[in-house]
Amino acid sequence: RAAASIAWAVLLLPPITAVFIILSRFSFLHPIHTISVIPTIACSKIALLGQLLHPRQFVSSVVHCIMGIIVAWCCAITIGGRYETLGYPCIQSDGSPQMCLNEYQLILLLAGAFVGFSHSLLGVIHNMNYVSFHTVQQYKYLRFKGSLPLVVKCSAIQALYSIRNYIVVYFFLGYIPRAWICKTLNLHLTSSAHPLDSIAGLLDLSLFYHLWISATFLLFTWYITLLLFRIFVTEVYSFPVQSSFTEDAHQCLPKVLLTDKQPMILKFLALQDLALLSQHSPSRRCEVFSLSQPGGHPHNWNAISGECLSLLADLTQRLVAYHDTVATNGRAKSLSTGSERKTSSETSGIPVSPLTAPFTPDLDSPFASPALRRLTAPVEQCSPWHGTVQSPHIMRRAPKLWSTSTGERRLMEDRSLRSNKHCRIQFELNRAVKNFLAKRVLIMYLFNKLPEASSQALFADSQAHIWALEGLSYLVQASFSEDHFGVVQTALPSILSCMLVLQEAVDRHFKLPHASSKPVRSTSSIGDSTYKTLRFALRATLKTAIYRITTTFGDHLNAVQMSAEHRKRLQQFLEYKE
């Protein structure tokens, strides 16, 4: 028996260790993991539902509920009086003494749990874990002081709504937890005191006031924590541009900008620092423009400008790809969820895109049309319907995509479909499934894309691009008088062309429906909704950045090498006609 027990112990050791390792790695409350600088934007109702039912969200809800109960218990103790204990001695009708349930404390504790639960749900819906960076820099104390009234107001209002909902819920479902508590703790209900889940019981103003005060206190502590966290995380950190010691090299601005392994917040802080240094500190700009001591290479400038340009090029590519998807299929393919919806325009079997209409048909270049390319490559013929993921990658090299004429393409695709029966069957099947699904109202509701959400998702991390644009343009502006080695001059053509291409892509994006519609401004919410307007901020910053360069350099820009198209575009900027 002893041997068996030892053997079992040895055998059980690995699974226990595994469980321990898993538990030790599981740091769900680590703030850096729960807080992000890039908001997660749900493009449809089903995606939002998915976020709400995520296991991590479940854990967070449970933790919030428990914390809510604890805080509510503290409140109950502090208020005292009738809220003080859960049970009290009472005498039943038959004269025997026993413990009875104090429903006042129970209702307070459950209110705490309810407020905690609703807070964690609202946190997901309002993207409360998103941290935005302010355009106006202020000291921490002043920023805290400035936000304090808003926090008080928000917590009071949110508590009012939560308590209202809670009372409704308790009125209908209050008897379930009451009975359960009575059963587990062996408490009794007094027949003399009328129960609280009745209209008379809930129409108690003092009870309502205490519930509201406790909920306000609970939300206030959470909001204050959130506010302080945001203020401390987004505080400007000044990275050294270059260091004379090699062991500090990884902390320098170019290095931090380049590495992608670090948490995103570090890269954001570095970009913010870049935007500020390019604007405010001549001495640090001088370091950026300096040459390396042995060799004489502008490593700092190359690294910084290279990273900024790659960020901007990445955004351009994303926009072009998105636009191609929309233009070819007449519908937007969401980036985060793969939900597709059958549009009525597809009933003819051919995707007629209504979005190609605003773009001028370019009949002079039919060979640039993707339909022809598709004819020569029959493998991708089904792509417009169920393979939209791959189509942007193919179309990326065809910038004239949207300029194809619709009628011509319909004809060609008709021909191509007839030539490929296999594809046709597959397509019909797909269509039947989608038709079936489309008739179910709930599914339609869930899978329907939220307007402008895909546009928001495209620009979700645009704060980085805004800083990159600001940093680059200020550096270029400063280089006019401060760059003694002509370091910036070599990169000027690529910077200008990168910005102009992005400008073109952004302009085109804003012509899509829902892209230029303004979101509703919500002032009475602690959740940050800055991400909803990032695309407008990016558009404004981009124009300002190009103007900053053109006003600084003026006619000198005519000496810069660039394509005729870009020169024409730049001329518009030089004449202030954009």
């Binding site: 302010h134 355009t135 106006v136 820099q137 202020q138 000291y139 002043l142 002081k145 400035g146 604007q279 405010h280 600001e470 303004k518 401004r521 800055t530 307007t533 990032l534 407008f536 901020a537 558009r539 404004a540 910053t541 124009k543 300002t544 103007y547 900053r548 006003t551 202030y576 006609k577 954009e578």
Partner: protein, 515 residues
């Protein structure tokens, strides 16, 4: 110290100032220069009769309708919507026959308490008792704003176009290169106090209105003469109206706005339509804002004897108390190192010098530009009129070589009209001021508003809006001191100064003492 007495005497009646050339202000009679003025495309004339003025007030329409009996609830809701808490309480107090006695009495008491508090608050800050129109007129940079045909004017910072806000609450945009003159009208665009174009942008125009801020996006290539109100962004914040002053940051990224009712300066991120209030107690409001051309500081004056200079990197501020009155106007030197400002009730221009983020406090009041304090130093104008008085606004040209000062004159005295005095200035290596002359318009026309063109090639161009509704441009042709040529000290003296030996002896009127 430098006095108006050292200026060349003002022109006789009937003469208007045309331009400055060869260090001399040239003038002509109004009849002979008329054709020239008409031919210039940018000289405009808005006769008061041509504007369709509306007598639209919110409360006036109420009396036109018959009174009909509504239930108390309906009337209370309407009173809450129209007049807020005060309106509701008044309604309840007035209908004491229908409500319980305790309610009407308690609301009456609350109302009395509110009135007492507000009157106490008003006695601390008297400007809060003004109506919003009067408040704009009081704190505007425009002389006699409420009676002005042209209420606001703004040159585009980079091109030759400008925006004019008129008495009928419309804004017109003139561009010599285009035939269309867009007219901007918006439901919320009322009582325009200031307009300003966004720097580093071709299209955005910020408008300070009675209830909100509007940012118009006027496409310069568009042929439309009436851009729809969808082209305008509405920026509003509760408690931040009327807006009397706005200023764009020179980098074009931020917009600040001020209201005499709100103690906070609003910093707007226009694209995101979000704002950060910079709250500082004291002063009772903010009346005038001016962003330094290098973008490092913002002047914010308050209705009381106090103004602040904000530093724009971390947005901290310094308080500057004035002795006598509130700061009326101010302007920055092109490099942002000097701030000139005037104080209401004094005929003096003060200067503040800023070195690298450090204010030289001791230089406060170092130099004072003395403009005829009391009647004894007035110059006689045309034997019947004299010049001088309080300063309404200051304007410094973008090269820092000409400073225009709009003097209020005395509205009671017929013989002391408002007038613009122009100084020659030099900031490097030391600060110097020399008299240049007076800018006058046709007889009977008072200057109301002035602004320098932001990038005039041949010197400086002062645009003046007159009380008659005329807009004229007075060029000052000179070579910039940045270009190698003989400086001010070597330049020929003004002939009129030579005629007066006393002024001749004192030719350098003010020279800053470097301590």
């Amino acid at each position: 110290m430098c006095s108006l007495a050292l200026f060349p005497p003002p022109l006789p009646s009937g003469q208007t100032t045309l331009c400055e050339s060869n260090n001399e202000l040239l003038s002509g009679t109004s009849t002979e220069d008329r054709p020239k003025q008409e031919s210039s495309p940018l000289s405009l004339y808005f006769p008061r009769e041509s504007l369709k003025l509306h007598s639209r007030t919110e409360s006036s329409s109420k009396a036109a309708f018959l009174d009909h009996s509504e239930t108390l609830w309906m009337r209370s809701a309407a009173a809450w919507r129209d007049g807020g808490l005060t309106g509701l309480l008044t309604e309840i107090t007035n209908s004491h026959t229908e409500v319980p006695k305790w309610l009407s009495v308690s609301s009456g008491c609350t109302l009395a308490l509110l009135r007492w508090i507000s009157s106490f608050h008003g006695s601390l800050f008297p400007h809060l008792t003004l109506s919003s129109e009067d408040m704009i007129a009081e704190f505007s940079q425009v002389l006699n704003w409420s009676d002005c045909v042209v209420r606001a004017f703004s040159w585009h910072p980079h091109t030759d176009k400008f925006a004019v806000a008129l008495l009928d609450d419309s804004i017109k945009i003139y561009n010599p290169k285009s035939a269309t003159t867009p007219t901007l009208k918006h439901r919320l665009q009322r009582s325009v106090a200031a307009v300003q174009w966004k720097p580093l942008c071709a299209s955005a125009l910020a408008v300070a209105c009675q209830n909100c801020l509007l940012v118009w996006h006027v496409d310069p290539c568009s042929l439309s003469t009436r851009p729809s109100s969808g082209c305008a962004q509405v920026l509003s914040h509760p408690g931040h109206s009327p807006v009397t002053s706005i200023a764009w940051s020179p980098s074009g990224s931020l917009l600040v706005s001020a209201s005499p009712v709100d103690t906070a300066v609003m910093v707007w991120d226009v694209a995101a339509e979000s704002c950060v209030p910079l709250q500082r107690l004291g002063g009772g409001g903010v009346t005038f804002l001016s962003w330094s051309p290098d973008g490092s500081h913002v002047l914010a004056s308050t209705p009381s004897t106090l103004f602040r200079v904000w530093e724009t990197r971390m947005w901290t501020c310094e308080r500057w108390p004035c002795v006598k009155g509130r700061c009326q106007s101010g302007c920055w030197s092109p490099d942002g190192s000097r701030l000139l400002f005037t104080v209401q009730g004094e005929t003096v221009i003060y200067a503040l010098t800023f070195t690298d983020a450090q204010v030289l406090k001791q230089s406060f009041e170092v130099f004072v530009l003395y403009l005829s304090a009391s009647g004894d130093e007035l110059i006689m104008l045309d034997l019947s009129a004299s010049v001088g008085g309080e300063i309404q606004s200051l304007s410094w040209d973008p090269r820092g070589e000409r400073l225009a000062v709009l003097l209020k004159g005395d509205p009671q005295a017929v013989d002391r009209p408002a007038i613009i005095a122009v100084f020659k200035t030099r900031t490097n290596p030391i600060f110097e001021l020399l008299p240049c002359g007076f800018v006058q318009g046709e007889p009977g026309a008072e200057p109301r508003l002035m602004q320098f063109h932001p990038n005039f090639q041949h010197g400086a161009l002062l645009t003046v809006c007159w009380s008659t509704g005329r807009i004229t441009h007075v060029p000052f042709y000179f070579l910039s001191t940045g270009v190698p040529h003989f400086g001010l000290s070597g330049s020929p003296l003004l002939p009129r100064l030579q005629e007066r030996p006393s002024a001749f002896a004192n030719q350098s009127l003010f020279t800053e003492l470097i301590s």
